[in-house]
């Protein structure tokens, strides 16, 4: 005779197993590598320096489906010295890309605000591409309590 405790244990295992099977055990490294690759695609062989970029995002996110993000870059935005593009990446999403904004001297200010989906706690990285070819970035750690795209079991 199977006890209730036993039965629950068995069904628990049966339910948990297929979900686990979707996830490779080294998912964290895979995601990190994907982020590095995405950044590499943007910057090429150039060096990324810390600074100039400011990412405004709540450090504790209760709903990852719509996270307000503002990226601001220090720049005079003149013809000679302006921000060409702002890239935003997340570490733990199925794909690292969030958006790429192309600006120019006519923007007046290098500031872009939007709402992103963030799947899990991790880094959010913004990279600014300047007109002189240099790259600046800031990385912010966030904690997500309710994930976006959770039902997929990809996290």
């Amino acid at each position: 005779m199977i006890s209730r405790r036993h039965f629950l244990l068995l069904t628990g295992v049966a339910i948990a197993t297929p979900v686990k099977a979707q996830l490779p055990p080294n998912i964290a490294e895979i995601r990190k590598a994907a982020l590095q690759e995405a950044i590499k695609k943007v910057i090429g062989d150039a060096q990324v320096r810390q600074g100039k970029v400011k990412v405004d995002i709540p450090p504790l996110i209760d709903n990852g489906n719509a996270v307000p993000v503002t990226v601001e870059v220090e720049s005079p935005m003149t013809q000679a010295d302006h921000v060409k593009a702002i890239h935003l990446f997340t570490e733990r999403n199925p794909q690292p890309y969030v958006f790429t904004a192309h600006l120019g001297p006519r923007a007046g200010k290098a500031r872009v605000a939007t709402r992103a989906r963030i799947a899990d706690s991790g880094d959010v990285v913004a990279i600014a591409q300047m007109s002189d070819g240099s790259f600046w970035s800031e990385s912010v750690k966030v904690i997500v309590t309710l994930s976006a795209c959770l039902e997929e079991g990809l996290i």
């Binding site: 489906n65 719509a66 996270v67 503002t70 997340t90 999403n93 199925p94 794909q95 890309y97 969030v98 958006f99 790429t100 904004a101 192309h102 600006l103 120019g104 006519r106 923007a107 007046g108 200010k109 500031r111 872009v112 605000a113 939007t114 709402r115 992103a116 989906r117 963030i118 795209c149 039902e151 997929e152 990809l154």
Partner: protein
């Protein structure tokens, strides 16, 4: 036809930096979700937004599935002359919407 909203100041001083807010009604289906039967829901997102000021492109954004549904984008531009700002969203499944807003520069 999807609903889009743009917020551009009606009047601005010459040389002033104005803030433009845009919102497009779109589910931004990521392509990673599954139905209850386990089938993948195909990706359906807005891929780009282009803003031109009297025909000159001043802002362009490429969007990815990690943008929230009903993508909101706020950016700035310098008010140079009176005229129209044209916004064009385009995306998967032939999604394409254009919206215009006029501005008076004094």
């Amino acid at each position: 036809m999807a609903r889009v909203v743009v917020n551009v100041p009606a009047e601005a001083k010459k040389g002033e930096v104005i803030e433009i807010r845009t919102l497009a009604g779109h589910p931004m289906e990521t392509g990673f979700r599954r139905t209850q039967l386990g089938e993948l829901v195909p990706r359906d997102i807005i891929r780009s937004l282009v803003c031109s000021y009297n025909g000159v492109e001043v802002f362009r954004a490429e969007l990815h599935p990690a943008m929230a549904a009903n993508p909101l984008l706020t950016f700035t531009t310098v008010a140079t002359e009176s005229g129209t700002l044209e916004f064009r969203w385009s995306g998967d499944n032939g999604f394409s919407v254009t919206e215009k807003a006029s501005i008076k520069v004094v």
